[in-house]
Each structure stands twice: as structure tokens, then as C-alpha cells.
Amino acid sequence: MEVKFNEEALAVAHKIIARYPEGKQKSALIPLLHLAQAEFNGWLSPETMAYVGSLLKIQAVEVYEVASFYSMFNLKPVGKCLIEVCRTSSCWLRGANEIIEHIEKKLGIKDGETTQDGMFSLKTVECLGSCGTAPMMMIGAQFHENLTYEKVDTILDSCKSEDKRKTYFDEVTVKDY
């Protein structure tokens, strides 16, 4: 499959690239990787990284060097609904471990795995800045806070038919000033 942004995404990409001074277009790399991840099923394949590199006129390996540094970039396929649960101190103090166990049991997967139907992936993450509303998880770009088992069940049940991987594209859209 040829990796290429559709017209709309390409327009956004060019708008982002135009923000930076002449010769400093590499600054657009991280925003473009977010855009690409949202456009191409929630992860960055080698082909996707090479394509983003071609837009910025840099080598694929330079893209990989950056993509592999940041935890939000998935270098392997993920489910339509990526569940990221915080496990650092404040969330741990208020029951994050139990929430993680509950999700693992409910979905029959462990941290880092994807359900067989490709619907859910579970990823434990470090502090997302939601400590006052702990425990919490992020799905797409949305924070779900003050979690209880019941709340988690309701949220996951409502996710069953949705593809949350596009949410980022929605959020990253660059405004015309």
C-alpha cells in the first residue's frame, strides 16, 4: 500500500511546515508524526516514517531516530482503542494497579498487548498530569479521570464500535490565523 496523505491532511502538513523559519523545517517533524500516526492506523510503519521524511527532505533514519525517542509514537500496530493507564505515584496511591488489573482481566490481555479482534490495546504510562483526579486513563486524546471499576466498564463498553485513532488528527488541526 502506498503511504500518502490525503488532500486535507497534506494541506495541514504544509501549514505546519510553513510556521518555521527558512531552513528550519525539521521543527515540523514531531507534529507531522502525530498527524501521520492519526492518518495511518495509529502507528508509524517504516514506510510512513520514510514518507514523512520525504515531506521534510530528511532521511528516513533521522525520522526513526526521533520517533523512537518519544513514548507517544507507536512503532508497532495498535488496536482501534489504545488505553493508556497512568501508574505513577499519585495514581498508584489511589488505586492505579487495581485499575490496570481490572482492565487486563476484562479484556483478557496484558500490558503492551492487543485484543485478538484488534479493538483494544493496553499500555501503562508514566504521569499524565492528572494526579488530582487519579486514577486516570487516556483513550485517544481524551482523559478519563476519577476511575472506578464501574466507570472503566462503562467507558470500555462504549468504545466497542469506535476507531479512536483518528482523534489526534481532529485535535492537531492547525487554525488559519
Binding site: 502525530h34 518519544y70 505513577t88 505515584s89 499519585s90 504521569c127 494526579c131 482523559f143
Partner: protein
């Protein structure tokens, strides 16, 4: 009620939007600055205010601004550090999502003072939904003539952009942030040169925290002397405290610096006391990096007086008996908390977030996590506790950036104040009370 500067209008319905913000006196500082003040006079006011960097380091903002190099024909940049990632800290997120225009106004006023024509807000990737909120606020500011070309007919031009990160604590370190903004891995740079001389794209750059920038409009409107009167001594002004953990009322509170720690934890105005009527065990007062203190040491000073919520009072007693205000990430632990397990979550965090550039941090953080895991599993030895101490002491001060220190201090302080707990895990692991936390939740 203490004085509120940043959250004064937090309760006003619609304050997220431009009209309401403007009706509450918003953007007055831009008008005052551009129409009546010189850039030098503005820097002077910020110096007089005693405002210190609110991201954690507490460096005087006015001094940082005065270091900015101004060579002819070279652009200068202002970058707002909205990469808030210090565990226990969520104040910037709160402020940006509730009152985005206060940050936009602060960016414009500060940019004018620094002679900057392009400014960025670098925000952590996980705060994606706030990008939309900020972009809307910026769009409104452009539409009303506060941004763009020839602002208020003064001939002054400014463009403001939001730049999104992608999940890396280290990008909160200002030189790592600049690397990331240039589209690279977030590896901190060796200093000097400092960003004030060679920052973004090698040009003179100021990097300031969200809360710092948001405090500037008040200072410009009311004068530095007025701001300096709030708070106590070198802890001037108000501070946003992110309160979390085992308390009745977690949340973000704007405090006038100088209230007692005891008052902050127990009064109804702030944390409302310990959840479920339990006793206080320990507090991490300024985000995960600062030393943890047991209840008596956080409430009282060595002299017996009450400890205050100020930079100076929190650090009184040095590293052996004090802590730091840091970012204001205030994590409260009740009597059921295992200090060892809490420390493990910090150690795992720093291991995950080490950029890998310096070997003491790269190897040390992973080693400390492994040892703590071993101790928690009941396979630790007394020698492991000494080894942990040894490793943290070898990381501290031996890395390019402060992440190494940040990883070392929680370990050092936990062993210093709670060595008996580590020993209990090692000598009698079956007797260690494994706490179930779920019962504490949302009761």
C-alpha cells in the same frame, strides 16, 4: 482567603472565551506595555516583583530576562514551557484549560518586553485536548488585534504558535525542550552556552514556565513593587499548588506564599485533611524530584516552629531535614502507604524518562528500579539498601542535566527517613502489609 492573581476569575462562567476574559480586565497589560512602557522598564518591573521561575528551579525571572543577548539582526525567541510532566504536578494543565487567555496575554506582554517577534508554547503531547483550547484562544487574540502585524498600531509584530511534544519528561528541561522544538530527540545540551545566548536555532531565547508567564500581566498592570508585597521575602507572589494523594480535596490551589504547611493540608479552604480520617505519614512537597519528608518534619521546622509554604521554609534543614517547593506538586501519603512501593513508582518513572545520554543516569536509574523491585518482591538483602544509597550518590551531580539529581533525591530521602521500612521488606517480607488501595478510592 489569600490573594488570587492567576485564578482570580476562575469561577466566572465563560472565562475560557475571549469576550468574558476581556471584560474581566484581560489584555490590559498588553495595552499598557505597548502604549506606555519601554522594554527596559518592563524587565525592570519584573525584576522588582521578585517573581521566580515556577517550573521548579525558582530562578529569578527578571534576571533571566536581563541575560537575553540582543545582537543586531538576529531574531530572538520566547518559548513557554508547557511540558508539565513532573509527577504530582498538574497546575499548568488546569490553568491552560480553564483560562487559556491569561497565558496568551502573558506571552504577548513578555514577548514585547524581550523584543521577540516569534514565540512558541511547547506543550506535552498528552495534553492534546488543550492544544485545541490554546489554538482557539490564539485565534481569538489574532482576530482582536493582539497578535499578528502592527499590534495596536505600534509597528510591533508577533506570531505565536503551539508546538506539541510527544511524550518525554526530559523535554521539560529547557535545552532538551529546544532540541525537541527543532525536531530532534530531547537530549539536553551542555551549558554554557545558555539559551539566553544560544537557544532555539542558535538564537537568543528565553524559556519560561506557563505559571511564570501568566504572572507577568499582573506585574505589568500593578507594578513590580505591588507583586513583591504578596508573599514573604524572597518568596514573592502566589503559587499554584497541585495537591494529590490521600487528601479529601485534591486539586489546584492558588496560595499566597507564607501559609503554613499544616494549614494547607488540614484547612477546608485547601486539602481538607487526610482522607478517611487516616493519619498523615509523609509528603512529597514539590513534585516527584524533591525529598520526601515524614509528617513531623514537613509540618514542623527543626526549631519547632511551623513550616511554611515558601521556597525558603520548605528547604530549611537542608537535604537532611528539609525539601523544596519545586513545581508545587504536593503529594500526600497516609499512614497505610508503603514508602518503598511509592519510591518504586518514582524509580521506574526516572528509568523510563532518562534520555540515555549520561551513563550515571542511564545505568543508575535502571539499576535502582531493579533493586527496588527485588526488595518489594521479598528477595532483597540489607546490602541492597546500602547499594541503593551508593548508586544514588554516584548519579547526583554527575550528569549534564538535573534529571540525574531528580532521580537520586527521592531515593536518598526515602532511605534517610524511612530506612526501617526498607529493612522490614528485607528481613521479614511476609510481615509487610501489602495495602490494597482500591478501598480508598472515591469513597
Amino acid at each position: 482567603m489569600g490573594k488570587k492573581i492567576l485564578l482570580e476569575h476562575d469561577h466566572v462562567p465563560g472565562i475560557q472565551g475571549y469576550e468574558v476574559y476581556r471584560n474581566c480586565g484581560g489584555y490590559a497589560s498588553v495595552e499598557k506595555a505597548i502604549k506606555t512602557m519601554s522594554a527596559e522598564a518592563m524587565v525592570e518591573e519584573v525584576k522588582k516583583s521578585g517573581l521566580r521561575g515556577r517550573g521548579g528551579a525558582g530562578f529569578p525571572t527578571g534576571m533571566k530576562w536581563s541575560f537575553l543577548a540582543k545582537p543586531e539582526g538576529v531574531p530572538r525567541y520566547l518559548v513557554c514551557n508547557a511540558d508539565e510532566s513532573e509527577p504530582g504536578t498538574f497546575k499548568d494543565r488546569y490553568l491552560m484549560s480553564r483560562i487559556p487567555h491569561i497565558l496568551v496575554e502573558g506571552m504577548i506582554t513578555s514577548s514585547f518586553a524581550l523584543g521577540v517577534n516569534t514565540a512558541f508554547i511547547y506543550i506535552r503531547g498528552e495534553y492534546f485536548y488543550i492544544v485545541r483550547i490554546l489554538e482557539n484562544a490564539i485565534k481569538e487574540a489574532y482576530a482582536n488585534g493582539w497578535l499578528g502585524k502592527n499590534i495596536l498600531g505600534s509597528g510591533y509584530d508577533l506570531d505565536l504558535y503551539v508546538q506539541v511534544g510527544a511524550g518525554a519528561y526530559i523535554c521539560g528541561e529547557e535545552t532538551a525542550l529546544l532540541e525537541s522544538l527543532e525536531g530532534k530527540r530531547g537530549n539536553p545540551r551542555i551549558k554554557p552556552p545558555f539559551p539566553a545566548i544560544a537557544g532555539l536555532y542558535g538564537c537568543p531565547t528565553v524559556v519560561n514556565n506557563v505559571e511564570t508567564i501568566a504572572s507577568v500581566p499582573y506585574i505589568i498592570n500593578n507594578g513590580g513593587d505591588d507583586y513583591a508585597k504578596i508573599g514573604i521575602g524572597r518568596s514573592a507572589g502566589t503559587k499554584l499548588i497541585s495537591a494529590s494523594g490521600h487528601i479529601n480535596k485534591p486539586g489546584v490551589y492558588e496560595i499566597e506564599m507564607g501559609i503554613t504547611v499544616e494549614d494547607f493540608i488540614y484547612s477546608e479552604e485547601y486539602c481538607g485533611g487526610i482522607k478517611n480520617g487516616k493519619k498523615l505519614k509523609a509528603v512529597v512537597a514539590g513534585g516527584s524530584s524533591v525529598p520526601v519528608l515524614p509528617a513531623d518534619k514537613i509540618i514542623n521546622l527543626p526549631s519547632g516552629e511551623k513550616r511554611l509554604m515558601t521556597y525558603e521554609s520548605l528547604s530549611e534543614g537542608g537535604f537532611a531535614g528539609g525539601t523544596m517547593l519545586g513545581s508545587g506538586g504536593f503529594i500526600v501519603m497516609d499512614e497505610t502507604t508503603s514508602i518503598v512501593e511509592n519510591l518504586f513508582t518514582f524509580a521506574r518513572f526516572y528509568h523510563h524518562e532518562s534520555c540515555g545520554q549520561c551513563s550515571p543516569c542511564r545505568e543508575g536509574t535502571s539499576w535502582m528500579e531493579k533493586i527496588l523491585h527485588k526488595i518489594m518482591d521479598g528477595h532483597g538483602t540489607l546490602a541492597d539498601i546500602d547499594l541503593l544509597w551508593e548508586i544514588q550518590s554516584k548519579i547526583e551531580g554527575n550528569t549534564i542535566c538535573p534529571l540525574g539529581d531528580a532521580a537520586a533525591w527521592p531515593v536518598a530521602s526515602a532511605i534517610r527517613h524511612f530506612r526501617h521500612e526498607f529493612e522490614a521488606y528485607v528481613t521479614n517480607p511476609n510481615a509487610v502489609n501489602k495495602v490494597r488501595h482500591y478501598e480508598n478510592m472515591n469513597a
